[in-house]
């Protein structure tokens, strides 16, 4: 199936859903969940293929759609209305309410956009220099320096806060390196124990990598492990070199 490559940026999952609904000319109050869910998932897949970031909100919406879709397949539970009437509960109800609300917001955003576009065609002029009309004295008398400082401080407060960035330094510990290390040790010492090997490890990642290295070396039949009794020390020796 050929994806329609929509390079339009959707502002969120509701925006995308609304687009799909409009494209299919679907009644918003009667959304065919299977179809829409499938198309939504297709779109996410296409986004991934294009290496576009799929934010968590899209994934949450995908899960919601799947949940609604599966609930649609179940026999409808009935629920008692306040007036005693029994009405079938539609699993889509909340989603429809959200979509209708969002649709209104989108309409309003469009209305604002055309207004700002119109307004950008309107020019004005800077205020005239009224100094000649002032009786006497300096042009600005009613402001003190502190008012200006206050203005600047208020501005500083208004500035967007710098996003806090925590740098996570990843220390990459390759299993291959650990395998190399284990073999070096064994060549030097002839034999060792599992505990001894792990003693040098300073981080969880190092522990895991060393453990994986031992497993891998066992699988490759480079080393042999033996244990005298349950929970006893695991002894590690080099396999006899194949002759």
């Amino acid at each position: 199936m050929a994806y329609e490559v929509v390079l339009e940026q959707f502002t969120g999952p509701l925006d995308l859903l609304l687009h799909l609904i409009r494209r299919q000319e679907i009644n918003i109050h009667d959304i065919p969940m299977a179809l829409i869910t499938e198309q939504f998932m297709d779109y996410l897949r296409a986004m991934e293929e294009l290496s576009l970031e799929v934010t968590s909100e899209f994934l949450v919406m995908a899960a919601t759609l799947l949940a609604i879709k599966s609930r649609m397949l179940l026999p409808r539970r009935n629920r008692e209305q306040p007036d005693g009437e029994v009405a079938a509960e539609d699993p889509r109800e909340e989603l429809v309410r959200q979509l209708v609300e969002y649709q209104r917001a989108k309409w309003a955003a469009g209305a604002l956009k055309s207004r700002v576009q119109l307004q950008s065609l309107v020019y004005t002029r800077p205020p005239a220099d009224l100094r000649p009309y002032r009786p006497s004295g300096p042009p600005v008398t009613e402001v003190s320096m502190w008012e200006m400082v206050d203005a600047f401080r208020r501005l500083l407060l208004r500035l967007p806060k710098e996003p806090r960035v925590a740098e996570i330094k990843g220390q990459v510990i390759a299993v291959e390196d650990r395998m190399e290390l284990v073999q070096t040790r064994l060549r030097a010492w002839g034999r060792t124990t599992f505990t001894t090997l792990l003693q040098g490890a300073r981080t969880r990642a190092e522990l895991v990598a060393t453990f994986l290295a031992v497993l891998e070396l066992m699988k490759l039949r480079v080393i042999r492990c033996s244990q005298a009794a349950p929970f006893a020390e695991i002894e590690i020796v080099m396999e006899e070199a194949p002759t």
């Binding site: 339009e8 999952p13 309003a108 955003a109 956009k113 700002v116 065609l121 002029r125 500035l159």
Partner: protein, 189 residues
């Protein structure tokens, strides 16, 4: 008497330029009641219209202001200084629209309508002084409530919030929406 005040009114508005003058301030400057200021402004606006003037009189964010007419923008664009198009993203327009129509509103409420995190967009709008904090909600955590600023009214050419186009009551028809589509000429199917 009334006619003779049209000249002073125009001179005052001309001198005030982009700062504009509020109705009550004009009443003080011209020494007439507020109602008469409104009538004078209406007359001046009509005069401009009647003679196909390049100037128009508008009320923006509570202040009367002389501006050029949109249809003359092509000529004015050739002058060096152009008014800024604030260049708001689709997301920013969405948040702004929700704040404008639903104010006072908390960030969480904005996000509920949009279905998407809106923190950074809101920060941008705050910084650009299109929205501001207007109070706190009486709820756990006392979340900040946001509203629009006078600059918002100015940028969007609104006299007041009542000037916002009314929201479609229930459903928006396909046609209404397509008006605001960016590229309706691109076939969608």
């Amino acid at each position: 008497m009334i006619v003779s005040l049209l000249g002073p009114l125009e001179a005052l508005l001309f001198a005030a330029g982009s700062e504009g003058i509020a109705t009550d301030e004009l009443a003080r400057l011209l020494d007439v009641p507020v109602a008469e200021v409104r009538s004078l402004c209406a007359q001046l606006k009509q005069t401009y219209e009647d003679r196909g003037s390049g100037i128009d009189l508008v009320e923006l964010a509570g202040a009367w202001q002389l501006v050029t007419r949109p249809e003359h923008a092509p000529y004015l664009r050739r002058l060096a200084t152009a008014p800024s198009n604030p260049g708001l993203s689709q997301a920013a327009l969405e948040v702004l629209a929700i704040v404008a129509y639903r104010q006072p509103i908390s960030r969480a409420q904005v996000e509920e309508v949009r279905g998407v995190q809106s923190d950074s967009v809101l920060q941008t709008l705050l910084h650009r002084q299109l929205v501001c904090e207007v109070g706190r909600m009486e709820a756990p955590g006392r979340p900040i409530l946001y509203g629009t600023t006078p600059l918002f009214l100015q940028v969007f050419g609104l006299r007041s919030l009542e000037d916002l186009p009314p929201l479609p009551e229930v459903d928006v028809s396909e046609d209404d929406l397509s008006l605001f589509h960016i590229a309706p000429s691109v076939p969608r199917d």
